[in-house]
Symmetry: C2
Subunit: 630 residues, 2 copies
């Protein structure tokens, strides 16, 4: 199947992603995560879809079942996200049982669509009269967007038009209602924009592109269509929205749609806006974990440098949305920095949203937790993931599901005369370039090891560029071809370009040094003063109580000059590289405020850091990303 974002025909894209039918993740880090999703998360989420009435809702709407629909905010969209994930997972590794469940769900969806194209189980029965009345809060267009994304993935994975037809009919209806010259509506929650553009890419129906463009450009008009608020990105026309503002997921879905629109339209003023947004986000609004949306209130972006560790919201869905936007920015620009951001958020702030076993999920991803009980309104997240979301709004669990299930589609790219390797994973890829079929076989233990071997296997000698991303953190990277220095510049944060006539069996080795790094934050991120975050390669680390029994994590400090060793520990957290170093327990202060000299070391302490994404998979306890140094 094609990647879930297919820009191979987009006139203003710099490249396109190799489809999932061209890529296979064969082992290693992402294989394990994808397997947990396929084997555990998706079957369990299917049960939740049934248990909470979300599936029955479609049957009730179809008149095939008695009863009242169970009310969930945009509950249909959870089902659509699950279908999208299932379609990708089935493609990647067909399991008859998952396929059967997907077929059952798709059939229910199909039956619920009305002849005119309308489908939304919330607004059926007694509430049918409310349709399209409250576009700000109703999530109707948003839900249609998820229907489209599920349908496109389903079509690409299975070849069946069963769900695609539903999406096309819905889009037809939306165009009749909101197209040019019709009601100037747009949704309170962006999402349908990128979906409609993907539907255009799948079907060629330009009306979808046109409608997406209207949905985007109607924002920020006078009089306001969406309440006029920055929270809903309705405070200014899209070209004048230059910093991430308001609800983080809404903002980033909107920017994803805008990037898609740029790739189709070539309107450079859109790219100007996107670059301003990007620069502000990366320089001032991004947690070191790739978390975004610092503020609980409104699940929203904070001001510049407002990046608290304890009270950050950093919704899993927002990190996913950032990955989606970064991916599109990469496709639109070819800038390796976009892949850097995507990698940072996927390995850390997004992946922390799901437990290692795939059973439990986070909405909120704080960078510091005191290990205390979950209290309503505590504004610190939880130190326990939960499986209970489906009784309420379930957005994050199926969102992380579809993200991980579609991973193969974003590892490799292609452009005229070039193959790109964006992300490193034990995998193989096949593409047609320079008139030849080329296979790439990548072997690596990434992210635990920076050694990457790529066998290039053209069916016959073929001249093309192989572009390898050198991550922004990778200083001193070296590239060899067949054991000889490749002569290509390996600048951190750029693609190294290997341009040659490739022969079958050519072997590229990329060595990314992975020292443990002590990251420091800009001085305006005032809560990180005197602290470091440990990172190795793309993985950001944290301290957990589980590795520091008997102590209070807030009193531990890392010694400034201490060596930090890194070693793979197969029995720790399913197998991770852990970091070990020397620190101290600082002299405690009991009073809230007290005069005196700076706290001194009271005792030495062994320090162990584990990957942030893997926190809260053991016993309850405190966690800290930014560690005091003394």
């Amino acid at each position: 199947m094609k990647s879930v974002v297919d820009t191979s025909s987009s006139p203003f894209a710099k490249l396109w992603g190799l489809g999932m039918d061209q890529v296979r993740i064969e082992g290693g880090f992402w294989r394990a995560r994808m397997d947990a999703i396929r084997r555990t998360s998706l079957p369990w989420q299917y049960e939740e879809i049934k248990r909470t009435g979300r599936l029955d809702n479609f049957l009730i709407a179809a008149g095939l079942k008695e009863g009242k629909v169970s009310p969930h905010l945009a509950g249909d969209s959870d089902v659509y996200k699950w279908v999208e994930a299932a379609a990708c997972a089935c493609w990647d590794n067909a399991e008859p049982e998952l396929k059967a469940r997907m077929d059952e769900v798709v059939a229910a969806i199909e039956k619920a669509q009305e002849p005119g194209g309308y489908i939304n189980t919330t607004f059926t029965g007694a509430r049918a009269g409310e349709r399209w009345k409250d576009l700000i809060h109703g999530h109707e267009i948003y839900t249609g967007g998820h229907l489209i994304q599920a349908a496109v993935a389903h079509h690409r994975a299975t070849g069946s038009r069963q769900l695609l037809n539903v999406a096309v009919k819905w889009a037809d209806l939306a165009y009749r209602l909101f197209g040019p010259g019709e009601r100037p509506g747009t949704c309170g929650h962006p999402e349908a924009e990128m979906a409609l553009i993907e539907l255009f890419r799948e079907t060629g129906d330009r009306r979808c592109l046109e409608l997406a463009s209207l949905f985007i450009q109607r924002r920020g008009q006078q009089p306001p269509l969406v309440g006029g608020s920055p929270y809903l990105q309705d405070h200014a026309p899209i070209r004048l929205q230059t910093t991430p503002t308001g609800h983080a997921v809404r903002q980033l879905y909107l920017l994803s749609g805008l990037t898609d629109l740029f790739m189709e339209s070539g309107d450079v003023s859109f790219m100007d806006t996107l670059r301003q947004q990007w620069r502000n986000l990366c320089a001032k609004k991004l947690a070191v974990t790739g978390g975004v949306g610092a503020r609980y209130q409104g699940e929203a972006f904070g001001a510049d440098y407002e990046l608290p560790n304890r009270t950050c919201y950093n919704e899993t869905c927002a990190s996913i949305a950032l990955a989606q936007w970064a991916w599109r920015m990469l496709l639109a620009s070819g800038d390796a920095g976009c892949a850097d951001v995507m990698e940072r958020t996927l390995f850390n702030g997004a992946l922390s949203g799901v437990s290692l076993d795939g059973r439990t999920f986070y909405y909120t991803n704080p960078l510091e937790h005191d290990g205390g009980e979950d209290l309503a309104g505590s504004h610190r997240g939880s130190c326990r993931r939960t499986s209970q979301h489906w009784d309420h709004t379930a957005c994050c669990p199926p969102n992380i599901g579809r993200t991980l299930a579609s991973m193969p589609g974003c590892l490799y790219g292609q452009s005229q005369g070039a193959l790109w390797v964006h992300h490193y994973a034990d995998s193989s890829a096949t593409a047609q370039t320079a008139g030849a079929r080329v296979q790439l076989r990548q072997r690596t233990e990434y992210p635990w090891d920076g050694q990457i071997e790529i066998r290039v296997e053209p069916e016959r000698e073929a001249a093309f560029e192989l572009r390898l991303r050198v991550p922004g953190w990778a200083r001193g990277a070296q590239i060899a071809v067949n054991g000889q220095p490749a002569g290509a510049e390996a600048r951190p944060g750029a693609y190294a370009i290997l341009s040659r006539a490739w022969r079958p069996g050519d072997c590229v080795t990329l060595s990314l040094p992975m020292p443990v790094e002590r990251l420091r934050a800009h001085p305006r991120v005032s809560c990180c003063h005197g602290r470091v975050a440990l990172a190795r390669g793309p993985v950001v680390y944290c301290l957990e109580s589980a590795d520091h029994p008997g102590g209070d994590l807030s009193q531990l400090a890392l010694l400034k000059e201490a060596e930090i060793s890194a070693g793979f520990e197969p029995d720790l957290l399913g197998g991770v590289v852990a970091l070990r170093s020397q620190g101290v327990v600082m002299q405690g202060q009991q009073a809230l405020y007290a005069p005196g000299a700076a706290p001194k070391a009271a005792a030495p302490a062994d320090i162990t850091a584990v990957p942030y994404f893997a926190w809260a998979n053991r016993e309850r306890g405190a966690m800290e990303v930014w560690i005091p140094e003394m």
Copy 2:
């Protein structure tokens, strides 16, 4: 006039405050602040009351003027607070013009009351049908509380029953509606509880006490009367509410009322609750400035140790409410620690709410500001006070007005056989004790100097205790009588007891050492790590851009070992003690996150710290209470 809280007849109070008719602040720090309120704030606030229609509202409600009332949330309460401030100010230093304005306003209020006792201009005319319908949001009982407090102050200051009669009639109505056996209502915003108890103290009408008790004890019942939410302190019965929760002003007004109720009822379970609340607040929820209510969302208390510097809300009204509660806790317990908290908040987090000239006001009192523009939703307050509040909710400006105008009433206390000095100010006091009339004449430059001289002038020799508060920060305090060591223990955070037969002319000297202290925060206040707050005596300091031109405040650090000098600078900020020391500009980091060694000193820098309360009285710029140390 009596103090605005008069516990002289409260059976379970440990002491009572000397009234404003017994105390005169003659010069020094608080005199200047009170003069700014009287000369500038109150006349200007009167104009605002007129300009915004708040005064006309009473005339319209009385049928004496045509038109529609102007809608302000609890707008009448702003007028009542102004009257309370004016009554105290007129007592303290009668100015005919202010007195005339007060008379005009009181007359308008009186006319607006209906024969049945109802008075609230919001619910007149077309909205009369909404009366008492929405006790959660309507602020009707709350507004009645402010009416009572204004009336009690007015009666005590002027002897006139004109406004007291209005309050008594309103309280009668409230008792008929909400008294025993009637509708079990209570207000969404506590305030009337302490007011009703003060009315009971003034009139002796026990129904007021009974109604206050009901208003308090109806909270947290099943089914909930106030929405059941912690935000409104309706989540548990009052005795089970053991930590400060929800909207800070509501919580602290409620605790003030509960403390009053304890002093009248002697119910020790109330005091248990109060002590638990007090301990949690002081140990885990109090900014170093005495600011409380750390969270923007809901203007609410955060969780334990959730004390951000940049995004704290710390409403001026919340600090005022804390001072009110601390004062009542002092009266109920005689614990000097209560006066410490009161002093901390009055000199810092409350006083920062008003500019030095009395013209502009803060709602929000952050501990760190980047000096940037005021943006909606910036969650960092402003680096400019404003005079524009009255167009919206005006609560803080008149609240700081009444607080400062009533200061004389909380300096001194009395109990059987003892006179207490709680707060140090250039002042005199007169009381009757041990059968003699005693005058105390206090001379001091406090808080700029810790030297305090108190002349004790009994009309004839009289044996009584003189209790002098030794502030919690005052280590090494010394007390002499007539030049000889007094032999009394001067323990920080306790009252030193001088028990003797006093003769006219006896001279007590209290020497409170005031070294500059580097305060450090508990390690769980993670944003203060590696930082110190400077304090000298009760005054907490901050850095401002105005004293550090050309640099970025966030890159300044204080040297760990540097001496810090303190000197009074008459031309700085109206005359303050400023602190001067040596620091460095730290090597800047441009990237949001970057690897590397700890930042080094790039250049030496002179550091100047000014009192926090006086910040933002010069040009726009950054401010920081917690200063990095290196």
